[in-house]
């Protein structure tokens, strides 16, 4: 039944089943939208960087504005040392943003509404940041868990809390994005369903809600991509500049 608001999240195989060993890596609708997002990003930014005119055209302006936006975000939160990671954070921000935004088009699939996708991204960030921290500071990175200026009595408790908060980073990062996407799309589907079931008489109210929700969801799509990227920057900042 299309009326079930969760069917929009169904992953189904497109084409034949592909198996590598025990693993099923078939091409699915999720894969399709990942590829569409990637291609869209690459096409837009390729067009935006092709010509270098002194007065940029619209697409060049778009590419350059995104570049300076992300670059400013990184330098503001993680400082100059984070410059080598600019390309990664830029791709991350753009990938999440495009997946979120493509999901706003009706009958599309939202890649980021799947916990496994966001969790893989978050886990990769978590592991990468932890590696960077240990490479830059050695075992001194463990000082992150011992905040300065804390009474010795409280220290065991604080250290445990710090470790838990550090380890929960990938979970919070991935669940935040996934839950926002899923909740928003579910809500829109529910309101859409109300429009149909209430018909021409009572359907206007949920329809107006649906319109308002669409605007809100576009905002959320951008905001969550931004939050995802900026939290990555903050974690990177912890690893690069050990402040504690």
């Amino acid at each position: 039944m299309a009326a079930n608001p969760m069917t929009q999240f169904n992953v189904y195989r497109i084409g034949p089943e592909i198996k590598v060993g025990a693993f099923d890596i078939s091409f699915t609708n999720a894969s399709l939208f990942m590829i569409i997002s990637t291609l869209a990003i690459l096409i837009i930014f390729n067009l935006g960087s092709k010509k270098n005119s002194l007065l940029p055209n619209k697409i060049q302006l778009l590419a350059e504005l995104s570049y300076t936006f992300v670059s400013k975000m990184i330098s503001d939160t993680a400082g100059v040392k984070a410059k080598p990671y600019f390309a990664f954070i830029f791709s991350l921000f753009m990938f999440v943003l495009f997946c979120n935004m493509l999901g706003m088009i009706p009958y599309t699939f939202t890649v980021t509404s799947h916990i496994i996708v966001t969790f893989v991204l978050a886990a990769f960030i978590f592991i990468g940041v932890t590696f960077i921290g240990f490479i830059k500071h050695g075992f001194g990175y463990l000082k992150l868990f011992v905040p300065s200026g804390v009474p010795a009595v409280l220290l065991p408790l604080i250290v445990v809390i710090e470790i838990i908060s550090y380890l929960s980073r990938p979970v919070s990062l991935s669940v935040r994005l996934f839950a926002n996407m899923m909740a928003g799309h579910t809500m829109m589907k529910v309101f859409g369903g109300f429009v149909v079931s209430l018909g021409i008489v009572g359907g206007w109210l949920p329809l107006s809600f649906s319109v308002a929700l669409t605007g809100l969801e576009i905002l959320v799509a951008f905001l969550q991509a931004y939050v995802f990227a900026i939290l990555t920057c903050i974690y990177l900042n912890d690893a690069l500049n050990l402040h504690h």
């Binding site: 999240f9 693993f23 999720a30 930014f45 935006g48 960087s49 570049y67 996708v117 893989v120 470790i163």
Partner: protein, 196 residues
């Protein structure tokens, strides 16, 4: 690390239990692990390609574009500044030339005036001298004339009076006696006639 693994195992077990719960209701497809591996594989592939192409090809180009634009704008500003300075110096030079030529014109004018004045003065002096000379010559002439005048007058008077006497009385009178009388008269009346 152990803690992390422990934590993740908790997390995953939580997901699996949810999934089992969801499967009953036909609920969240997100928790159906059927396509997890596929999603992880395609995510890694697409994101990896995206990252490589962006970092190796596109982002350097954009940053290069931004840099060249920045430097070009700076260059243009510098060139404009230079041209402004050039024009200012040229304006100064022009003004200098103008003031110099004004001064020169003044000098030339002054020199010409002085020269003209000198010429005029020289000519005037020459003329004055000539006039003076002529005046003095004339005065001399007048003087000589004045000196010779009484004698001539006397002779004329003597001749005239002898003629007159001859015509009046028809007798010849000795010239010397007449001259004596005229001399006597002229001596007596000399003051009256000549103002000497």
């Amino acid at each position: 690390m152990i803690k992390k693994i422990y934590f993740q195992s908790i997390f995953f077990s939580f997901l699996f239990s949810l999934e089992a719960f969801a499967a009953e209701n036909g609920g969240m497809p997100q928790l159906n692990p059927e396509f997890w591996v596929s999603q992880i594989f395609w995510l890694t592939l697409t994101f990896g390609i995206l990252y490589i192409v962006l970092s190796k090809l596109i982002l350097p180009k954009i940053s290069n574009n931004l840099e060249t634009r920045k430097s070009q704008i700076l260059e243009n500003i510098e060139a404009a500044e230079k041209q402004r300075e050039d024009s200012e110096t040229k304006l100064k030079e022009y003004e200098e030339i103008i003031s110099k030529s004004k001064l020169e014109a003044k000098n030339i004018f002054n020199q010409a005036r002085e020269k003209a004045l000198k010429d005029i003065n020289a000519k005037r002096e020459v003329l004055d001298k000539q006039i003076d000379e002529e005046i003095s010559i004339a005065e001399e002439e007048i003087n000589t004339l004045r000196k010779s005048a009484p004698e001539k007058i006397n002779t004329i008077a003597i001749e005239a009076s002898s003629d007159l006497i001859q015509k009046l009385i028809g007798a010849e009178v000795n010239n010397s006696s007449i001259s004596a009388i005229v001399d006597d008269l002229s001596k007596r009346n000399g003051d009256k006639y000549y103002g000497n």
